[in-house]
Symmetry: C2
């Protein structure tokens, strides 16, 4: 089997970067996968585990000879990486490898890239976001099948080279993922609604209860439903601070939309509007049951 | 083995009533368990499954000879049942069996009982609430071990006969539950915080997203975290409408408390207050991790 490309470079070898490295090697998409980061122990462990073939802590050396560069650092660090990398190819864009990323927000990276590239998107920078994760983190937790049957959203730009978009698409298809295109604005709005807003609600709820005078009793009598509802409040605070900063506008918009609906429901409770409550709860149950059935069907495939 | 009491009557043979009947028979607490309800097919099925020994659709016949009566109907129906039953014992409280219930809200039942008993609590009416449930419902789903290692909250009143409280406590201990006493107000506040508020938030969130113009995309790209967070929005709308009506004041108070915290978090997102967000998220994560560890330790026992 001939590999599709020769060298993939992963910048940031955590759960996502490590799992992508494993998948690309396992599926023969890339002949070599090189890691780059600032924690040598983690990179050396990546070689030891067979996640990557080699590593370097020198960014210029990492970029040298790369066919595809995947920025797999935390969200806010990714913007800084693009601001460091893109100027290296100013005036010689034909030397630029295909660059992509895995961050949870796309708008801030688009702005960073356009800022570093004269107001346009670099033709070979294709932003992307695999909708996959795990409660665990780090290269030790990486798995070649992390993306199988998961969605990867790409946000190709009119300025992108079609061949660059195709290569990033092929890379994700090789991991077993389903690849979907969206605009940057749609991506950030959809992720704000389905992921960023729920995290804000879960954090706000648990913090509110923890600060309540009755918090001991509250947590003593909470049960399984509360555990499921608050699971995402156990997520990494730094990661979510960064996402809230990176996706500020969309997060604010979804909080406001939600707050409007909560205020309407509060009014129905206050006025004992039995019919209004029943309609809201029934609509929500129908939507959630449909969603759960769809997710189950997808995971059976 | 001699049974602790002769006859237990269950009013309303659903998941909770049926599971209690099974547990009391299995543990030999009650020599006979009689069911009462308005759907004969369900009662007959209860006999067929061995959940109850016999049934009647006549309330007066059911009460006749009962040592313990458990009102296991839906929340709002339970208030109406107390208003029907208590006047039957006016002027002859020594003839009243020990009466208890399983409803999710206690304040409305306390008010109903006091209203039907001259402003005091009847000495033999001991309100209670087993913190247990299942995604399934109905007598078919009943299980003798539903309450094992779960909490049951009793809200004994100064007007209660100590022997009546003890009998209800013994009944729940026989099912393998842990019995805890609280005031009616504390019960309703704690349940509002840990159960009623999360349900309102989940319903409001899913309904807000379902009504969004982008709802197709939103549900298409939601993943496992969203499924856990919204699981409780698949709960029975009628049951939750009734709980919101029965526990109106406490639900409104927790919505307001939560809304204040959400507004503070919104402000931190708006002003990109990185330190403030990190503090909120970190406090919430610590509280939630501690809660999850506690719940896990309890379930291991």
């Amino acid at each position: 089997m001939t590999a599709r490309i020769d060298t993939t470079v992963i910048l940031g070898l955590g759960l996502i970067g490590g799992s992508l490295a494993r998948a690309l090697k396992a599926r023969g998409f890339s002949a070599r996968v090189i890691g780059h980061g600032h924690r040598e122990a983690s990179l050396a462990r990546g070689v030891e585990l067979g996640v990557i073939d080699d590593y370097t802590m020198d960014l210029n050396a990492a970029l040298e000879g790369a066919d595809v560069v995947v920025v797999a650092t935390p969200t806010l660090v990714a913007a800084g990486m693009l601001e460091r990398i893109l100027p290296l190819y100013a005036g010689r864009e034909e030397a630029m490898p295909v660059i992509t990323d895995v961050a949870s927000v796309k708008g801030n990276l688009q702005r960073a890239a356009q800022g570093a590239w004269g107001g346009r998107m670099p033709p070979r920078l294709v932003l992307g976001h695999p909708i996959a994760g795990s409660e665990r983190s780090g290269v030790e937790a990486s798995r070649a099948d992390l993306f199988r049957n998961h969605r990867v959203i790409l946000t190709p730009d009119a300025d992108n080279e079609p061949a660059a978009v195709q290569l990033v698409r092929d890379m994700w298809l090789a991991t077993g993922a389903e690849v979907v295109d969206m605009s940057v604005a749609s991506h950030d709005a959809v992720l704000a609604a389905t992921s960023h807003l729920p995290h804000m609600l879960a954090y706000a709820l648990v913090d509110a209860l923890a600060q309540s005078p009755a918090s001991d009793d509250i947590f003593r009598f909470a049960a399984g439903g509360f555990r499921d509802f608050t699971r995402i409040a156990s997520s990494d605070p730094v990661m979510w601070r960064d996402i809230a900063i990176a996706n500020r506008e969309a997060v604010l918009a979804t909080i406001d939309q939600f707050s409007g609906h909560l205020a309407a429901l509060r009014k129905a409770v206050d006025t004992q509007d039995a019919e209004g409550m029943l309609q809201t709860f029934s609509r929500a149950k129908a939507a959630r049951d449909e969603f759960a059935a769809m997710l189950e069907a997808r995971q059976r495939n």
